[in-house]
Symmetry: C2
Subunit: 68 residues, 2 copies
């Protein structure tokens, strides 16, 4: 069984930003799927086990953005 977690990312302005966030979040161990929507900033993470929100925050910041 898998679960999803939803976050909102601020500061993304274009598709390159979306790609950067997606890439960083996908690198978190255990993450199975990442969906990022530019217009809304919605970040949805699918995983078998819960992902530490601190890891998500760190990945988003590594990409150069912030969690709203």
């Amino acid at each position: 069984m898998s679960q999803t977690a939803s976050y909102t990312v601020s500061g993304m302005t274009c598709g390159h930003c979306v790609a950067s966030v997606t890439e960083e979040v996908q690198e978190i161990p255990g993450v199975e799927n990442v969906d990022v929507v530019l217009d809304t900033g919605a970040l949805t993470i699918t995983s078998a086990d819960p992902i530490d929100p601190a890891a998500v925050r760190a990945a988003v910041e590594e990409a150069g953005y912030q969690l709203a």
Copy 2:
């Protein structure tokens, strides 16, 4: 001796966009240096011989942007 040519690029929203434009324009044969300013859209190309403006336009469009 080298010369510079100035253009204005529209549609860039972030540093990734600047990087994309820079990368594509740098690939034009004869281009020695490329400078892109996000805020103004200014694209400055340095070369020994003149660069065909059509090649510049094609490179900018390949990156996903437009000359203003």
